[in-house]
Every structure is written in structure tokens, then in C-alpha cells.
Point group: C2
Chain length 218, copies 2
DNA sequence: CACACGCGTAGACACTGTCTACTCACTTTC
DNA sequence: GAAAGTGAGTAGACAGTGTCTACGCGTGTG
């Protein structure tokens, strides 16, 4: 039923492979067709324009990220633990698949046309993910307040959705700057002896989570 | 003395104008030359490649951002106030000059060659700005602790540089997602009646600053 | 068998970035 | 003052790109 032409999938595969190996800047339509073993006019049958093909590649990236999120979250049960796993996964994804991450947020290229009536636009497809994220933030705050009931001078803070938006943008910026190496540069190049880059990354992630969700109450 | 050819500057001007009006995706070398009123081969005399010209345009963007920071900071004296002004300016810049902001962080295009022996690479040119930023964060924490001396169970948190890096990445992500409209989408489209988009933006900025620097102690 | 149709090919077109040869005004030098 | 040189910009060529259009070619159906 969903065997709607295998070339469509092969083209996306070739695009993903090309983005991962050569970077997001050199994802030419003709080069993708070449790698898929077809002529340069073939993709037009499935994607009306170059941007549409790139959008499909980016969508594949979001799907990959989603499954990575799900398996990462499966390991823990507390909301805080899940947010930690999610944050680590996001940053790791941006670094490991840098070209893909870059492409996924090239809003000037992607998401120009409403694709098909069935398929939602790329931008809106990440909306349920944010909803899940905001729910996790709310649950995390509930967990936190379960320990010490109703104390402190209004430690409530902003509504969970706002906190979720703030934390989300923090993770996004962290993933991007870390993927580019900007933060490593800003924090000083040489990591303290024996301290690998991953440890610094984890420390940053912990600082971000502590800032938005409050420090862990062991 | 520094009258090193006016065409160089005119080309950068044309590039900036083009980026601002047409977006970061369509900054062709020939189009820039056309707007500057010269032939398509002329830029080659000053910029060896297209990327070099784009890097110069991006550098201009960073300079603009820097001066905007300086004038925004001049209004207030407290470290916290300055950080607020800086954050607002960053987010506003990304939204007002979206194409420029996009170009400035296209690491796949820019910063490929070490330019000239005198000029530092684009990435490193933002380093002193981060240093200033980290200093502000440290001063802000000092201001905060001046009120209530040495209390609470280790409210120290991570070292200032780490906090600065976390806050910096938060502002960057916030600016980007806000410029694209992703956060507006995630927070629900209709702003509460009478609440302009700017108010929501300010609320988000305040939440971010409170998270990393602690809430304001009026 | 003839027909139509989905799928892919091949060529054309305008456009791009890069490279190279050239013009031409202006300065330097004999 | 004339000749040589030099820097700035022009113009054409070349390979490559995305898009568009016309054309094959096999398969399934009337």
C-alpha cells in the first residue's frame, strides 16, 4: 500500500547520505540524482522542486531524532531523568550529524510550500514534540514540589509552558553552539587535564537543566 | 590612509542591503556586483571567492550588533540591567535583521580561510564579546550576593564562565527560534487579548534571565 | 492489438561562481 | 616628454546548477 515508488525513498536516502558526508552546503539536486543512479530530471517526478526534496531529507532527520529521543527516554522513569536524557541526545545529535542539524533548521530553504494536503508542514510537525516536552517540564516541577510541600517565597516561577519554551531554546542554542565548537572556544581551548570534551559538555547540560528546573535535590 | 579602495566597501554595502531585502539565501556574487554597478568580475579583485565576500558581509553584521549592544548597555549601570538590555537587543536584532542573523551563523559557508594575517578569523572575533558577557554575569552574581551575605545552602552554582556559556546559548537559541516564529507557534498562536508579541517576548527573556541569574530581588 | 499512462531520459535555457585575457587611465622612470 | 609598468575594472569562456519541456519505453487494460 505504502509502496509508493521506491525511487522517492532512494532519493531521500541519497540526500541523507550526501548531507552527512559532504555537509549541508553541497546537497545539489543533480548530485543526489547521480548518487541514486538516475538522471537529473528524475527527482522532479516526486519532488516538484529542489526545496521539496531537501524538506523531505530534513523531515527524515526529524524522524531520526524522534526515535533517538524515544529510546533515550526509555531508560529512565523520572521526568528529570528523561529531560536529562533528552538534552544529552539533542546535543549529541547536533554534533554527530552536524550537516543534518544545519539543514533541519534552514528555514530560508525549507518549508516553503504546504507539501501535500495530508502531510503537515515541516515546522508544525515538531509541535507535538514540544507538547511532550512541556508536559515533562510540568511533571518535573511536580516531582520537585512533592518533596517539600508548599514552602519558600513563591518558588513557582513562570508557567510551565514558558519554562519549557525557555529550556527548549536553551537546548537548541547549546546544541548549535556546541556542534560548531563556539562554546569550546569561549570556555578556553584546553580542557582541564584528563577532562574530555564530553565531560565539559555534560557539565554544561547539567548547568542548563539546573537553571531552568532547579538543582537536583538528592 | 585607510582609503583602501571604495569599491570594497560598496560591495559589502550592496551585500548587506541584498541580505536584508531578499534574505540570506539569494546573495549571489553577480547580483551584488550588479547592485554595486560593476561587472561580475570586479569583486574578485578584493575578495578571492564568494565566501570571502559573504564573510565580510557577516563581519559587518557583527560590527553592527556590537554597536547596538554598546548603545543599549549605555542606558543602565547595574550588571543585571545591562544583561537585560543585551538580551533584548540580541533577540530584537535577530528578528529585525533575520537574513543577516542567518548569514552570520552559516558556519558551513563562512570562516573557511584565515582571511589576512592581520584580520582574525570571524569566529574568533566574537571572543572578546563573550569575555565581556562573562564578566557581566560575574558582576551580576556579585551584586546579588551583596544584599544577603553568605546564606542559603550553597547557592553558588556553577562557575561564572559556565553560567555565562549557558546563558549565552540560551539567548542565541531564543533569538533564533523567536526570529523564525517557532516559539510563537509552540506557545500557541493567539497572544492573550491586548498582549502584543513583544510582551510575550519580554516575558520569555525575563524567564531566561531569572533562570540563569536568579529572580530579581526588588 | 492498440491505447493510455506512469516513470524515467535527454536536451535546452537561464543563471551561477570561477578563471583568464584584455583594455585603459594613471604613475613612475629614463 | 615619451616609454614602460601597474592597478582596477571589463568581457568572454567554462563547468556546473535548478527548472522546464518534449520525448522514449515498458507495462497493464480496453
Amino acid at each position: 500500500m505504502t509502496d509508493e515508488g521506491s525511487l522517492r525513498e532512494r532519493l531521500i536516502d541519497a540526500g541523507v547520505e550526501l548531507v552527512l558526508s559532504e555537509g549541508s552546503g553541497s546537497v545539489g539536486l543533480r548530485e543526489i540524482a547521480r548518487r541514486a543512479g538516475v538522471s537529473h530530471g528524475a527527482p522532479r517526478r516526486y519532488f516538484p522542486t529542489h526545496d521539496a526534496l531537501l524538506s523531505a531529507v530534513a523531515r527524515r532527520g526529524f524522524e531520526d531524532l524522534r526515535t533517538r529521543f524515544e529510546t533515550a527516554v526509555a531508560g529512565t522513569t523520572t521526568a528529570r531523568g528523561r529531560l536529562e536524557a533528552l538534552a544529552r541526545e539533542y546535543v549529541a545529535y547536533a554534533r554527530e550529524r552536524r550537516g543534518m542539524f544545519e539543514l533541519m533548521f534552514r528555514h530560508d530553504l525549507l518549508d516553503s510550500a504546504p507539501q501535500a494536503p495530508g502531510r503537515s508542514r515541516l515546522r508544525e510537525s515538531t509541535l507535538p514534540l514540544f507538547g511532550h516536552f512541556a508536559e515533562l517540564v510540568a511533571r518535573c516541577r511536580a516531582e520537585r514540589h512533592a518533596g517539600q510541600p508548599a514552602d519558600g517565597p513563591g518558588e513557582a516561577g513562570p508557567p510551565p509552558r514558558v519554562t519549557a519554551a525557555a529550556l527548549w531554546s536553551n537546548l537548541h542554542g547549546l546544541a548549535q553552539l556546541w556542534a560548531w565548537g563556539s562554546l569550546q572556544l569561549a570556555l578556553g581551548d584546553p580542557p582541564p587535564d584528563g577532562d574530555t570534551g564530553d565531560a565539559r559538555r555534560d557539565r554544561l547540560i547539567a548547568a542548563v537543566l539546573d537553571a531552568h528546573l532547579g538543582p537536583v535535590t538528592s
